[in-house]
């Protein structure tokens, strides 16, 4: 267990946790999507890269990096598709007078 892997996994868990807190606390659909999309992508990327550092060179770490690259491309794509669906159906924005 080297120090780099420990640091990467700890920061990834932190980002995943903060994404969940933002998903609960934000008042609006678009702000929730802002928290969920970016924090989730970065958090799982950091956890998978930390596990690849822990593993060392080999087939398992190569597969872990492939999963990380796959998430790096697909998670923003899914977020963009969902946000496009919301924008086309005119989900309302939050304004300062609203509750929440």
């Amino acid at each position: 267990m080297n120090l780099v892997a420990e640091f990467l996994i700890c920061s990834g868990v932190f980002f995943l946790f903060m994404g969940a807190v933002g998903l609960i606390r934000f008042p609006d659909f678009y702000t929730r999507m802002h928290a969920a999309g970016k924090c989730d992508t970065l958090g799982s990327l950091l956890v998978l890269t930390g596990l690849a550092c822990h593993e060392g060179l080999g087939l398992a770490s190569a597969k872990l990096l492939v999963i990380a690259v796959f998430i790096f491309f697909t998670s923003p794509t899914a977020t963009h598709a969902i946000a496009r669906a919301a924008h086309k159906n005119r989900v309302p924005f939050w304004s300062p007078g609203d509750r929440g």
Binding site: D40, A60, K63, I71, T77, I82, D98, R99
Partner: protein
């Protein structure tokens, strides 16, 4: 020591997934529920790989995690396309 570290990391991620489940249950519109399910799926990929380290069958669990990532992506895309055409009912500003 390494096992304890992986176990505590996966328990923290599971707790974060439990927090995201709140948005799936009480989300005001269907599209909030979709984003909650997508977030839980992304967290589950990390939990599956950490579980592989706990059981010492890493290569086996990595393939499952890759399949899970594929299915999560396709499910989110299909749900977004479907509700983009069907329409999103929205009740009130926020819960």
């Amino acid at each position: 020591m390494t096992d304890t570290f992986f176990l505590s990391a996966s328990l923290m991620i599971l707790f974060a997934a439990l927090l995201s489940l709140y948005r799936v249950v009480v989300g005001p519109s269907i599209i909030d529920r979709i984003i909650g399910v997508n977030v839980i799926g992304t967290k589950t990929i990390a939990v599956i790989v950490l579980t592989g380290y706990l059981f010492e069958r890493v290569e086996f669990f990595i393939d499952i995690a890759f399949l899970y990532a594929l299915i999560n992506f396709i499910g989110a895309l299909v749900l977004a396309k479907y509700f983009e055409q069907k329409g999103v009912e929205h009740t009130g500003p926020t819960p």
